[in-house]
Point group: C2
Chain length 346, copies 2
Amino acid sequence: MSEQMQRITLASRPDGAPEAGNFRLETGPAPTPGDGEVLMRVHYMSLDPYMRGRMDDVKSYAAPVPIGGTMEAGTVGEVIASNSPAFKPGDFAFGMGGWATHACLRAKELRKLDPAHGPITAALGVLGMPGFTGWYGLTKLGRPKAGETLVVAAATGPVGSMAGQVAKAAGLRAVGIAGGAEKCALAVEKFGFDACIDHRAYDTASDLRKAVAAACPDGIDIYYENVGGKVFEAVLPLMNTFSRIPVCGMIAGYNLGALGGVETSGPDRMPMLWRSILVKQMSVTGFIISNHYDLYPAFLAEIGPKVASGEIAYLEDIAQGLETAPATFISMLNGGNRGKQVVKLI
Amino acid sequence: MSEQMQRITLASRPDGAPEAGNFRLETGPAPTPGDGEVLMRVHYMSLDPYMRGRMDDVKSYAAPVPIGGTMEAGTVGEVIASNSPAFKPGDFAFGMGGWATHACLRAKELRKLDPAHGPITAALGVLGMPGFTGWYGLTKLGRPKAGETLVVAAATGPVGSMAGQVAKAAGLRAVGIAGGAEKCALAVEKFGFDACIDHRAYDTASDLRKAVAAACPDGIDIYYENVGGKVFEAVLPLMNTFSRIPVCGMIAGYNLGALGGVETSGPDRMPMLWRSILVKQMSVTGFIISNHYDLYPAFLAEIGPKVASGEIAYLEDIAQGLETAPATFISMLNGGNRGKQVVKLI
């Protein structure tokens, strides 16, 4: 006998922005863990922009979710059945459980959590993949030096707020870009950015550029790129010689159907970027954080205590109930979240 | 009393491809060296693609040549008068003398050459800026590993042929791209490329890509970018995960007027490049070789003996007479040269 579980599957692939109809809520029996497996009752699941990419059937760094498959997500929860000596019922753990109330995973795919060390949701955000992404991109690819200037887009998100706070601690000027006056105030007041520019207040990249330039009197040494689009276009001409651009994602571009299969970028289409890379001797490096988990222990050792002490602030936006996940996800892609978006399932 | 000198000045700025009328041959007295200065009778001057950039009045990594100013160039020649203890008449040296029969330079701006060590023209090509550029970009930014595949555009030029030969010596597969069957044969037979693709034989980037793909069965780990345009568009989809693109120039782009002042690259214009950087975790780094001369002694120590022994091959295309420089330069920008283009002035 097994308990009932709910999951959200990919009903159809989106054409542009995802809609509610692309998702389907399904109910069925929870699986029974096989040899070496563990059944987790999920308490919180993570919503992240990368999931948009998994909805398209295009070649990328990870396989797409199949039609009818459960949407992918990082999850934290309590072990309720275990066929592995590594876990016992009552243990808490992180794993890639998906958009579902229960997750059956191999024990070696789980990381044990100690709820005494702080909220388990931290494993989805500030001390999880997004926080690690912000830290890795800034410190390893951004190569920050005291006195330099960092610009971060999506400054109040879990990636950008980590990058900004780590930069401030390293003696940089940190300028955020965010959508709306409320987020900009949050960036400055909660996360300690020196300034934050509201990109929605400027219709054109050119106008946005003037505002960013005013906030960056010494130019930009690191642009932490996870947005693309108008913001990138505004920032590029302000980059200093020898500046660095770590590229970890492009929220603005994720809904461009063109992103999947465009093959038409001719020589006239990218001269500005290409010329900037050459003339400014910039270093632009893409990274997929899942390839760098050898550094995750170093990240935890450095940032974990700072989160515990409050030196590193974080913010979570918690939606309630699995059934709200599609609408919450769609809203998040349009900037509707405040901080790390999670969904509480219990 | 002073002897007569000839020089070629920038008469007007080109609109697109340079024309003969953009240059003017002028004659006047050679200058007399001041304190700490040296007068050189130029034997050979260098012609390089970067000079095209100096003809435009746009912000770049170096100031443009002013209208009426002497065109810039690296030169080698004999000291005929010296007001510095560091040089005496009869010494040979390299310096940035410009498109002129004589050059008056500060002694500290000159590097002494020993004609007994080989042809002095080598200081303009294989052991000069272009060879150093090929070596630096490949070894420091390309980070080659045995078994990987390098693709180099302009494979028979002094930059590309150095990159290809250094790569072969390091155990890589080296595939060149060049314009015309003759250059392709040269790349394979003289410079040891494993294969060379004639980009003129393919009308579209897509067709060119198929030919490059066939020559690179394991994909491309390093694309040494000094061309841009159709070749770049053909190569980009073939890049491997964690591949590297050192960017040292863009011959194909140099004549695009757009390159100077384009401000219109919107978010729809560069998604393919941007997506590739992210998904393939590529590292794209621009460099201006003049900022890296701290490594020039290391380059000379490594490559000098290999040039002397013949292990590193090089090819020079020598035009005769200062008055031929404009036509030779224009032809070179269209691929008319075979190897390093120099002009003999004496």
